[in-house]
């Protein structure tokens, strides 16, 4: 995988400028937001390099890429920086030729953006469930709230009668949702999909997508990361790397 490289931490030297013909993404192997950007890079076949950042021990130079040190950030060979995962994904779709992930039709494009609004509580809820479970706390209320969000998404699929959120082919909105669904199992909350069959069909269909497949994170490695992360171990981010 392109992103199987050691993360940059405090005291590290900044990477040089981005070579022509390449785009760089500052990322972290387990971050769902950065995952969105990596999915789009892959889906569009964009030549890129990945620089992983140690999020518990950020390099000083990284704040020149993002004022708050967040990921993902794109940097191109003109030294232009683009951040916020959704903005980065749209930028890639606009700037690079080939397969368009957002629809051409303005109404359909607006529809995907409206769908994204429907999704906005999911990242926070899944994270809260993870933290609660990892800290040995109860999270029945959180799971209920998450199930409700999933019901809303289920309704959309039912109403549209399509496999994917943008129609019968995978498109941008599906990639923007995917990272959190991939994590349900490893977070221990896969049962939140119990009452949403269309959503389960969607996840099955997503797992068949070549791009999604290529970037699927190994469950054991993810669990290893989570264990170290919740012990506040700064080495968590490089867990599972070969050397």
């Amino acid at each position: 995988m392109e992103d199987a490289t050691r993360s940059f931490g405090k005291g590290s030297l900044p990477p040089g400028p981005v070579p022509d013909g390449l785009i760089r993404v500052y990322s972290m192997r387990f971050c769902p937001y950065a995952h969105r950007t990596r999915l789009v890079l892959r889906a569009k076949g964009i030549r890129h390099e990945v620089v992983n950042i140690n999020l518990r021990n950020k390099p000083e130079w990284y704040y020149t890429k993002h004022p708050f040190g967040q990921i993902p950030v794109l940097e191109n060979s003109k030294c232009q920086l683009i951040y916020e995962s959704v903005i980065a994904c749209e930028y890639l779709d606009d700037a690079y030729p080939g397969r368009k992930l957002y629809p051409y039709d303005p109404y359909e494009r607006a529809r995907q953006k409206m769908l994204l609004e429907l999704f906005y509580k999911v990242p926070h809820l899944t994270k809260e469930c993870l933290v609660a479970l990892r800290c040995g706390r109860e999270c029945a209320d959180l799971k209920l709230a998450l199930r409700q969000e999933f019901c809303n998404l289920e309704e959309i699929l039912g109403y549209q009668n399509t496999i994917f959120f943008g129609g019968d082919c995978i498109s941008m909105i599906d990639y923007l949702f995917w990272p959190w669904f991939e994590r349900l199992d490893v977070y221990g909350i896969a049962d939140c999909l119990n009452h949403t069959p269309a959503l389960r069909l969607w996840t099955a269909a997503m797992k068949q997508d070549p791009t999604v497949c290529a970037l699927l994170i190994d469950k054991n490695i993810f669990l290893g990361f989570l264990n170290l992360y919740f012990q506040n171990n700064p080495d968590a981010f490089d867990y599972g790397l070969a050397c």
Binding site: K78, Q80, I82, D94, P106, A110, K113
Partner: protein, 234 residues
Amino acid sequence: MSGSARSLAKGSAPPGPVPEGLIRVYSMRFCPYAQRTLLVLTAKGIRHEIININLKSKPEWFFKKNPFGLVPVLENSQGQLIYESAITCEYLDDVYPGKKLLPDDPYEKARQKMVFELFSKVPSLVTSLLRKQNEEDCSGQKEELRKEISKLEEVLTNKKTTFFGGNSLSMIDYLIWPWFERMEILELNDCVDHTPKLQLWMAAMRKDPAVSALLMEPKALRGFLNLYLQNSPE
């Protein structure tokens, strides 16, 4: 085309389909989010009709237009509905010809969206200050608002341009304008007293034809807010 039509409330009959050649916006005369959409409609010279919605007593049929029951909502003659103010603005820019408000260049477009993110805390801060108008302690929130506003001043300083997208007015300026208009009317002007470039920007914005066409009557806004904060559906 009248933005001054009485609002439709609970019990009202739903309006008919939108005639061809027209686009309809469900709005409310004092809503800053809806003002974004009206600014874009006006700036691009798009033929439109406005239906104002009584937000304290919403018609049942309005939830079929937007499940969240919020304005603005666009409805076209094909019956397609678009909501979320920023999404409506982008949709209009995509569909209608004439002056493009969003840049063609992917990076410049992304830059506008990043500035929009920088602005994101301002609306709720302005709203909460509005509600506290008669109370004493809003110094904390004013400080927070000043902080957020300084981020925007920094953008103008770094860019060395009059407007947020360059030397001409563009989408990002229209998207943030409604709150600055309200800050002036509601005497929150001291929140921009450390930001000279923003003050110049505000003056430049007032000269824009679309902005000036939609400027609210200060008395009308204040009157509305008084009633609104007392929970009167009028």
